[in-house]
Amino acid sequence: MNGLVRAELLKFRTTRSSRWMVASTLLAVLVGVASTMATAGDDGSVPLETTEGVRNVLSAGASAGALVIFILGIVSMTGEHRFQTITQTFLVAPVRSGVVVAKLIATVLLGLALGVASAAATMAVALPWLAHEGAPARFVQDVVPVAGGTLAATALYGVLGVAVGALFRNQTAAVAVSLVWMLIAESLLVGFAPSIGRWLPTGAAEALSSYTPGSGDLLPMWAGALVLCAYVAGFATAGARVALRRDVA
């Protein structure tokens, strides 16, 4: 089992596309933080000098990490079909549940690492900037919950990605459909029909990572965590089931 997890991490480390994904995540985090800082208070958006304003800045990069690790999770499964490496993988580990679990664990570990890196990048830029703007972030009230929620959401999205990848073998289709769903369909629902949107994965993840109690649109943080966990468990069960039975030809 241990060997399989290490093999999955090695698969990740030994391709160049993974490095690009990590680099682009960090870039997206910095852009997100900077643009939120720059536009805070404009056109009726929350001003910087409020708790919500500060937390908006801190969580600005959260979705980038979640999105990237979600795609990495999908690619971790579907890439094996795309490049036909799944045959060798299952020859080495014919008990397929072991492979799926190893991919889940490896992706969560990567998600946590990416989450820590994103949080560190966010803090490095946002904390001095906020202090300079006269809206210093409070460590326990602002930084800890936002960073913790971001980490949790990123790890859960990794699991969700592996599960989706196990369900849909076609890599292009799996990534394209998921992105359209997450970035367009869900975002619209979260924005315009929050009564539905907050129950969807993106809404739940936003609740988990932005930690904005009192804002009526999203679920409370704990409920967001539970809802996201439920989605993850449902997809993971279905995905594992499909991957275990399917012929590899």
């Binding site: 290490r6 030994t14 490049f83 020859l91 080495v92 014919p94």
Partner: protein
């Protein structure tokens, strides 16, 4: 005990029966050539033996167990399968490290198998730039990682140059001589004929022949080669007795599905002189065509 045992193995894909009630056993110390026309079910059979495809019915076991229940399977069976690939951006050495890590094998094995397949010099190159033959060698390297006694190879000679084929042949021979079991499919029959002890021929998912190479080729097309000064006369005389014969040269007639007694009697009756007579062994290709054509029946 049979090393690989297949019993009533059947696989249906919708309406199509790819493999239909196939049964055979492979023992130790043999190289078996697995032959059949395209679409005969070879790859599906190999994939069922290796637990990648679930049989509709019947079973396939390796060392008495289904592949999926083997502990540390790569130390027992090494496989090269078609439609098995590489991440193009990964270096050859990293590809092997991934599998060695997953299988819990010592990292030193990676260097050893690279040496064995002759890829040490290209270990740090990305697979993207590999030729078909180099990819085939890398596949073989993966198969050899666990130093298994059983090898299951689907078209392993694809893309190999003559030197590579020679090397592969010696490798398979050595495995078998050490008591290993090798099952190798190939469509290059002359290639197979030089390497294997036994042949296993299937057609449309069914077993057509399984046995020592000489036996299978002999049974397929028993033929007698006759040297005579009057080949045309002998051919006509044999034809009159219902024996098919063919003139192959100024003094040679080859008669099929008959024996030397019949030919001698026929020739004596017509006063035809015979210089020399010998059983002619059909080539594997002729045997293969004869066996698979009969079995396919009206389908062709």
């Amino acid at each position: 005990m049979a090393v690989i045992e297949v019993e009533g193995l059947t696989k249906r894909f919708g309406e199509v029966e790819a493999v239909a009630g196939l049964s055979f056993q492979l023992g130790e110390g043999t190289v078996t050539g697995f032959l059949g026309p395209n679409g005969a079910g070879k790859t599906t059979t190999l994939r069922m033996i290796l637990g990648l495809v679930v049989p509709t019915s019947g079973r396939a076991t390796v060392l008495g167990r289904p592949y999926r229940e083997l502990s540390r399977p790569v130390t027992r069976v090494g496989a090269v399968l078609e439609a098995s690939g590489f991440h193009p951006g990964r270096r050859a050495v990293d590809h092997l490290r991934v599998h060695a890590t997953a299988a819990g094998l010592p990292a030193a094995r990676v260097g050893e198998v690279l040496e064995v397949v002759g890829l040490s010099g290209s270990a740090r190159r990305r697979v993207k730039g590999f030729s078909l033959g180099m990819r085939q060698r890398l596949s073989l390297a993966v198969a050899l990682l666990g130093d298994p006694r059983i090898l299951v190879l689907d078209e392993p000679a694809n893309g190999l140059d003559p030197e590579g084929i020679h090397w592969l042949r010696r490798l398979l021979r050595r495995r078998a001589d050490e008591g290993g079991t090798v099952l190798v499919s190939s469509h290059v029959l002359t290639e197979v004929a030089q390497t294997v002890d036994d042949v296993l021929i299937i057609s449309r998912g069914r077993l057509v022949a399984h046995g020592p190479l000489a036996e299978v080729t002999g049974r397929a097309l028993p033929a007698v080669r006759v040297r005579t000064p009057e080949p045309q006369a002998l051919r006509q005389a044999l034809a009159a007795r219902g024996v098919t014969a063919e003139v192959r040269g100024p003094d040679v007639v080859v008669a099929v599905e008959t024996d030397s007694e019949t030919i001698t009697l026929t020739a004596a009756g017509r006063g035809i002189v015979i210089y020399e007579m010998a059983d002619e062994r059909a080539s594997l290709e002729e045997a293969f065509l004869a066996l698979t054509a009969t079995n396919a029946g009206g389908a062709r």
